[in-house]
């Protein structure tokens, strides 16, 4: 054992060399850095390539169009996580220090697992952790989770909005009474997370709820859909993930359940979820925090300045304007906006993570500002604060027409008042477990 380290020492040496070479630092530039824990391979590559493609393209766009924010250019580097938690942690640790002197602004792993694993690290390192549309629900409570931002939509809001939509469709929430709703969820903590909320809503509105689990990865759903066929529900809420989504649609078709009564959640709403199901997906409804498509000024502008200039990040240009791509763009808009807000307070220079966090907490996107950004209709009006790290909580509904998504509703708001106490109960439990004293948000400026 004495010599254990001898063999690997070769590897270690080579690795050290690699590390040294990679960190040969140029002059500390006037740049703001985004560490990207991206994933472009593995089972979830489709989501990763779209999201990070959009994100990078937007940063590139800001650089090209405006020369960054107030002259502070953006820089970034990628580290492949393969959606694997340990790799995400490794990437986080590798990139958190910044690049060539440019400080890191925020991390955006787009992975629940990685977000959980880096949550405490982020807090300790004072680096905002952005979990747009996903993440830990109770991190909405910024007094307990100062550095975590489940922007736009947390999982609780998601189901609440869906129920509100169904209520709308039925002619009012009071009409929900007696309706039958089935939730088909992925057999993972992610899939189960909203079950208590659904049960709560079922009790509140008096609809009957059946929760059906699909074991991971979900490529066999015969029995669940036969069950659904027997129950004959009015709506099926699909909380799927990866392959489970197209298989659900195909199996629904096989068992004769109409696709236009299936509502996909935020991870069942992309082209990659619907298209592989072919004709079976036609009519499928899903929520989205942002419409797909290219019909927004900001996207047109990106196309012109970035893509047409051959600087686009997407390998497959056809994916421009898809759900994941647009989510990346939205994420870019929000991150850049946070930097901009923070710069207004702290000065026109590269900012620390702590300063960027202040920026996030003070994001205020109203219609006017959104129009300014060319993102009206793409991004929902958003106002964050010390205690509210989610901000929006609204979704739009879209329907698959066999080729692409068509937005079929305006913003539908979640019942955030109802959810807030539940969230706080959970966050306070966490605070107690971890010995955290929540910030007093009244004192924050």
């Amino acid at each position: 054992m004495m010599n254990i380290m001898k063999k690997p020492s070769v590897l270690l040496g080579a690795l050290a060399l690699g590390l040294i070479l990679s960190s040969v630092s140029a002059q500390a530039a006037n740049e703001q850095y985004f560490p990207l824990q991206s994933y472009r391979v593995g089972p979830y590559a489709a989501g990763g390539t779209g999201f990070f493609g959009g994100f990078i393209d937007y940063l590139q766009y800001v650089n090209l169009k405006e020369g960054g924010v107030n002259g502070v250019k953006f820089t970034w580097s990628e580290c492949e996580t393969e959606y694997v938690v340990e790799k995400g942690v490794e990437c986080y640790e590798r990139l958190k220090k910044g690049l060539n002197g440019a400080p890191a602004a925020a991390t955006n792993p787009l992975s629940v697992g990685i977000a959980y694993a880096t949550l405490e690290r982020s807090t300790a390192d004072k680096l905002p952790l952005i979990t747009i549309n996903h993440g830990r629900t109770d991190s909405t409570d910024g007094s307990v989770f100062p550095y975590v931002f489940p922007l736009q939509l947390n999982p609780y809001s998601e189901v609440s909005a869906i129920i509100n939509y169904i209520g709308d469709k039925s002619g009012g929430l009071d009409k929900l009474k007696g309706k039958k709703i089935v939730t088909l969820f992925h057999g993972s903590p992610y899939g189960k997370e909203t079950n208590p909320i659904l049960e709560l809503l079922a009790k509140k509105y008096g609809f009957s709820l059946t929760l059906l689990e699909v074991p991971h990865p979900g490529n066999e759903q015969q029995s669940q859909w036969l069950n659904i066929r027997r129950i004959k529900p009015d709506w099926v809420i699909l909380r799927g993930w990866g392959v489970m989504n197209p298989v659900a649609l195909k199996t629904a078709q096989k068992t004769g359940f109409p696709a236009d009564h299936i509502i996909g959640n935020i991870w069942s709403n992309s082209e990659e979820d619907a298209a592989p199901a072919g004709t079976a997906a036609k009519g499928f409804i899903s929520i989205t925090t942002h419409p797909s498509g290219t019909n927004f000024p900001v996207l047109q502008d990106i196309d012109k300045t970035v893509l047409k200039a051959g600087k686009g990040n997407l390998q497959d240009a056809k994916r421009f304007g898809t759900v994941y791509y647009n989510l990346g763009v939205v994420n870019g808009i929000l991150n850049v906006e946070a930097v901009r807000v923070a710069q207004a307070k702290f000065g026109k220079r590269p900012l620390t993570g702590e300063e960027v966090r202040w920026g996030f907490e003070n994001i205020k996107l109203d219609d006017a500002r959104l129009k300014q950004l060319g993102a009206y209709g793409l991004v929902q009006p958003l106002k964050l604060s010390c205690s509210d790290h989610e901000g929006g909580g609204a979704v739009r509904f879209q329907q698959w027409d066999g080729k692409q998504w068509k937005v079929i509703s305006d913003w539908v708001q979640a019942d955030r008042k109802l959810l807030r106490p539940i969230i706080e109960e959970s966050s306070h439990k966490y605070a107690k477990e971890k010995g955290i004293t929540p910030r007093d948000c009244a004192k924050e400026s």
Binding site: M2, N3, V85, P189, Y190
Partner: protein
């Protein structure tokens, strides 16, 4: 080669049986331990602790667990991750539900729980052999993940089914900094490696190898087969369980049942194939390989191939490299890196002679 053996001889079986018969080896080992315990915490940075050293140690430990079962006792298993999960969740619950449970004792009970579960899934090993036994261990893999996801009690009804680390405090010392977590992992790993080393060099270790090499003959010379196999399952799972707890608490900080899925089991299996089955050292070599190769590749490509090779392609390439290496090792060196090291040692013992 560089150190002299002459003049070091044993005058008792006790001295003859020790790990390092040569004082140079002993002092080298002590120096290594001292370096790992005393120098590394000051030399390392967050990245080395959190992204390299801790996972390396935990995976070495997991490899050790599987190696005892597969490399020594000859029972192949694809359920290693399940036993890690049991260990992690059990340690969490012991910690949570018993007031004042010391951290290390919680780990220990986590290991014991994993051992019990291991015994249950090891029971069929008396009747079924070879890759038929895979079914039992795969059953463990799927059942355990399902149970942990299905019943919220195990994660204290966390809405995401995620457990997070209790305060890492031992006797009033806080080990939650990266260096502290490294030391905690190192300490536990060192103790367990010592434990495992003693086992494989004891009667029980010989029994395992006997069962591995030829179980009929083992039975004929009076080795109780079932007991021997079950002990292998229990001790293997015990170590895997503690490795799981470290994975959850010291490495990631939080973990969900799917963090211990089949691919983790494969990863651990690869560690022992590459490192060397039936070798203690092999676990370190295999784990180092598994941890460092991807980082090395991605670092090198980030430096030299940035923009040339798509990072995605690089991951695919890495996958191919792993697969090819496994086949390569199975063909050329079924006993893994440890065997190479051993051959090197043997050669250097007689250097400059050839044999």
């Amino acid at each position: 080669m560089l150190y002299r053996e002459s003049g070091q001889f044993s005058t008792s079986y006790l001295a003859e049986g020790r790990l390092f018969k040569l004082y140079q080896q002993r002092w080298g080992f002590y120096a290594l331990l001292a370096f790992a315990f005393l120098a590394v915490p000051y030399l390392g940075n967050d990245y080395w602790f959190s992204a390299i050293l801790i996972p390396f140690l935990v995976l070495s430990l997991a490899g050790l667990g599987l190696n005892l079962l597969t490399g020594y006792a000859g029972q192949i298993s694809l359920g290693s991750a399940a036993f890690m999960a049991v260990g992690a969740f059990a340690a969490y619950n012991f910690q949570l539900r018993i007031d004042g449970m010391p951290l290390l004792l919680g780990f220990f009970f986590g290991g014991v729980t994993a051992a019990l579960v291991g015994v249950v899934f090891g029971l069929p090993s008396l009747r079924i052999k070879g890759f038929y036994l895979l079914v039992s261990t795969l059953a463990a893999q799927f059942v355990v993940t399902w149970v942990l996801t299905q019943f919220g009690w195990f994660s204290n009804y966390n809405s995401s089914g995620v457990i997070s680390a209790p305060p890492l405090v031992i006797l009033g010392h806080d080990f939650s900094s990266p260096a502290g977590r490294y030391l905690l992992t190192l300490g536990v790993a060192a103790a367990l490696f010592w434990f495992a080393h003693n086992i494989v060099h004891s009667e029980l270790g010989r029994r395992w190898m006997a069962v591995r090499d030829m179980d009929t003959a083992a039975a004929v010379i009076g080795i109780p087969i079932l007991q021997t196999k079950l002990l292998a399952f229990a001790i293997s799972s015990f170590i895997l369980g503690i490795a799981g707890a470290l994975w959850a608490f010291a490495y990631l900080g939080t973990v969900e049942p799917h963090g211990f899925d089949l691919s983790r089991s494969f990863q651990i299996l690869f560690i022992i194939i590459i490192g060397g089955m039936g070798s203690i050292l092999g676990n370190f070599l295999g784990a180092a390989f598994i941890v460092l190769l991807p980082i090395l590749l991605s670092n090198l490509s980030a430096t030299f191939l940035a923009g040339v090779v798509d990072p995605g392609q690089l991951e695919n390439l890495q996958k191919i490299i792993f697969g090819a290496l496994i086949i390569f090792f199975l063909i050329k060196e079924p006993a893994g890196l440890a065997r190479l090291w051993q051959a090197f040692r043997e050669r250097s013992r007689i250097w400059p002679l050839r044999f």
